[in-house]
Symmetry: C2
Subunit: 96 residues, 2 copies
């Protein structure tokens, strides 16, 4: 992976860890004084996990955290067989 620009400190990539570990990461981030927004990014099967993370966080902290914007897209990734295939992506913006 190449070096990310500074603002990507506010991106949480959702993968295969348990949902609650991402929820904890979101809450930790949004409790930092200089962070009032962050983006959950996921692709493929992890899209469902990203929605779970957003929903669990929002429902537990209903007064302070809002889902601001949701975008979906497609990325080309290299499959196991070396051939390119498309995978869906999601970005969920959370705001404090």
């Amino acid at each position: 992976m190449s070096e990310e620009p500074t603002k990507d400190q506010n991106v949480i990539y959702i993968g295969r860890k348990p949902v609650m570990s991402y929820v904890l990461a979101v809450i930790t981030s949004l409790n930092m004084p200089d962070v009032d927004a962050l983006v959950l990014k996921a692709r493929g099967r992890a899209i469902t996990t990203a929605v779970d993370v957003a929903e669990i966080t929002r429902r537990r902290f209903v007064d302070t955290i809002k889902v601001d914007r949701i975008e979906i897209g497609t990325e080309e990734v290299e499959g196991m067989d070396g051939r390119a295939r498309n995978v869906s992506t999601i970005e969920i913006d959370l705001k404090r």
Copy 2:
């Protein structure tokens, strides 16, 4: 299932069928003269499928179909053990 109001003819529920069968349903619906918008609804693991359906449809018909609005939510469902549990939901509005 109870009888649905008329506007729910424009709702496509995404479940466990192959993605392309839903894509076909979307295209068929949006080709009808009186339909210029529809909603994909999914919950749990099918959320990823719903995003796939929206993306495949949008990319194949890039000039005519747009993703208009995406909303996520939570529903309470009864689990196998009879206890209530929460499941995440998604609604994706497609417009012609």
